[in-house]
């Protein structure tokens, strides 16, 4: 979807800024909002670019820097921690050869922490783009990531 198409989905009002930014981020392969897009969105909504930037930097799910096609977010809160007996982050980190908050060289994967994603009854849990994965085991984590490598989104 082009930026114009996303903008036309919503009334031309400032209150839809976050909805627009979420759509752009989700839609783009590398999940970020570029400077040009900030300018276009600001013009369209008749707001200052600085306001768009303040929103962009405030919300954790939005990014102004390029990320991977698949954003792996691992929950770091207590209920997941209590049930994580193999270290989810270390498993992914080793498997992909990247540190936390890094992106793989082929721009396929980014690794991030997330706040609780409300799956504590099936902890540990992680989220890849809009998909949630629960009851993780070491093998399961590796299988999930490898299935994404194969291009099954």
């Amino acid at each position: 979807m082009s930026l114009e198409k996303i903008l036309s989905k919503y009334p031309q009002k400032k209150e839809y800024l976050i909805e627009i930014l979420l759509d752009v981020d989700e839609d783009k392969k590398n999940h970020f909002i570029s400077e040009e897009e900030v300018t276009t969105i600001a013009k369209h909504l008749k707001i200052k670019e600085s306001h768009v930037c303040s929103v962009l930097s405030f919300y954790t799910l939005l990014s102004s820097r390029e990320r991977g096609e698949y954003i792996i977010q691992v929950c770091k809160d207590v209920p997941c921690y209590l049930n994580d007996n193999f270290n989810v982050v270390e498993t992914i980190s080793k498997h992909l050869g990247i540190e936390m908050n890094d992106t793989t060289d082929d721009r396929m994967f980014s690794l991030e922490f997330t706040a609780c994603i409300g799956c504590c009854e099936n902890a540990p849990a992680m989220r890849i783009n809009n998909e949630i994965f629960v009851s993780l085991t070491k093998d399961k984590v590796i299988k999930i990531i490898d299935s994404k490598k194969g291009g099954n989104s």
């Binding site: 839809y16 919300y59 809160d77 209590l82 997330t114 706040a115 504590c120």
Partner: protein, 423 residues
């Protein structure tokens, strides 16, 4: 059986995507009944029920609704579905399993207070719930439960979904309102309260998903009968999100007044691997941490003398004896350091400092002075922060200092023995 299923009784029995399933289970009958009763009688029933807000703060719902009903002009209703408190997943279950119940609750609120527009603010992480709620609103419109002239009356009400973008603080009412307006989610100074001046400067009633879900039930059995369910301190049922080191993790609905111990041992099946409970955190990351010896306390709105709240939004995080108290506190404090919106100084600056001090305890480098600094800092943040985030975030520190003093003493002694302290 200690479960008391009312809000969750249709779970698994209806297809959440089918309005017909909901209608067959007497769905939308309570908004019809409410319209016949009229606003005054509805508000009276809600008063009699003594229902309190289910989002964590436990404020009496009828007080909020009555003050909101007195306002004139265009008014908004917001359903707060920004469930982000670690350990809570009840609102996700309500949205994913019985979404029309929430819409009906919002309709009853709107009709009884004269509101015409509504928002459901859902965090983006809950993609499945967002899809279900979007579909539910469409179906409700198709069946004329939302839109103009609902059920051929002069009552009009419609709902729009807004997504959060990964900010825990947006569960706070004014931060949520700012976010709906397309701004960073930073709270406002109160008063005026949202019921007077909320979203777009207009009167706004904000309630939690579970609170709205209770309203069709209150309409069905009446406020007096509802008040008979529960304990002396709280009426109705409470959804409990049970997680951590417990056999049967999951969502349970119990009447207020059940003990925490029964929920953990009867419903949760106890602790796996023959372990003992070291502590239980109540409500979520912002909740108090209690020892095994206090598990007999009841789930209700009564408060600890050392702290303002007890059960919060209803999370119970069970932590077994393999775990170190300071590891848990550090995770909580790092969470709040990241989630502070930065508007007020105690919360913005204080969480970083608390993280540094707690790290000293984790790393066996703590002194008596660190203990006193941590204690005073925790109390300052609790007393002086602008919104609920900072007011409640230090509760795991304040409560463990009260209930686990020996853990702090031992850690300081051990730090000195290892010679890793700097004086």
């Amino acid at each position: 059986m200690i479960e008391y299923k009312e809000l969750t009784k249709k779970f698994g029995k209806i297809d959440p995507l089918s309005i017909n399933d909901y209608l067959q289970q007497d769905g939308y009958k309570m908004i019809r009944k409410a319209i016949k009763m009229g606003p005054k009688k509805i508000l009276n029933e809600i008063s009699l029920s003594r229902i309190t807000g289910r989002g964590g703060a436990g404020f009496p719902v009828s007080i909020k609704m009555k003050s909101f009903a007195n306002e004139t002009g265009v008014k908004y209703i917001i359903c707060n579905a920004d469930e982000g408190e670690p350990g809570n997943f009840k609102d996700r279950y309500l949205m994913e399993n019985d979404p029309h119940q929430i819409i009906e609750g919002m309709l009853i609120s709107a009709f009884s207070t004269g509101a015409s527009r509504g928002f459901i603010y859902i965090r983006s992480e809950y993609q499945n719930a967002i899809n279900i709620m979007k579909h539910t609103i469409k179906e409700a419109r198709k069946y004329l439960f939302l839109g103009e002239n609902i059920l051929k009356t002069s009552f009009s009400f419609d709902i729009e979904i807004r997504r959060g973008a990964g900010a825990y603080v947006c569960g706070e009412e004014f931060a949520l309102i700012e976010s709906i307006e397309g701004k960073p989610g930073r709270t406002r100074v109160k008063p005026p309260f949202p019921s007077q001046k909320g979203v777009f400067g207009l009167p706004t009633l904000i309630n939690n998903v579970e609170t709205f879900s209770n309203l069709p039930f209150i309409m069905r059995i009446g406020g007096r009968e509802y008040n008979n369910i529960g304990s002396d301190f709280a009426s109705g049922t409470k959804l409990i999100s049970l997680s951590g080191n417990v056999k049967n993790k999951g969502l349970y609905e119990v009447s207020y007044g059940e003990t925490i111990k029964d929920v953990i041992y009867i419903l949760g099946g106890g602790i796996p691997n023959n372990r003992q409970i070291k502590m239980v955190q109540l409500g979520g990351a912002c909740g108090v941490v209690i020892p095994q010896s206090l598990l007999d306390i009841q789930i209700d709105n009564e408060r600890f003398h050392i702290f303002d709240s007890k059960i919060g939004a209803g999370a119970l995080i069970v932590i077994d004896d393999r775990h170190d108290i300071f590891d848990i506190i550090l995770r909580n404090m790092e969470f709040f350091e990241h989630e502070s919106c930065g508007k007020c100084t105690p919360c913005r600056e204080g969480h970083g400092q608390m993280v540094n001090l707690v790290k000293k305890f984790v790393n066996f480098q703590a002194t008596k002075k660190d203990y006193l600094s941590l204690k005073s800092l925790a109390n300052v943040i609790h007393e002086t922060s602008l919104c609920g985030l900072g007011q409640t975030s230090p509760s795991s520190i304040i409560s463990t200092m009260e209930f686990f003093p020996e853990d702090y003493e031992k850690r300081i002694e051990e730090s000195v023995r290892r010679g890793q302290t700097n004086g």
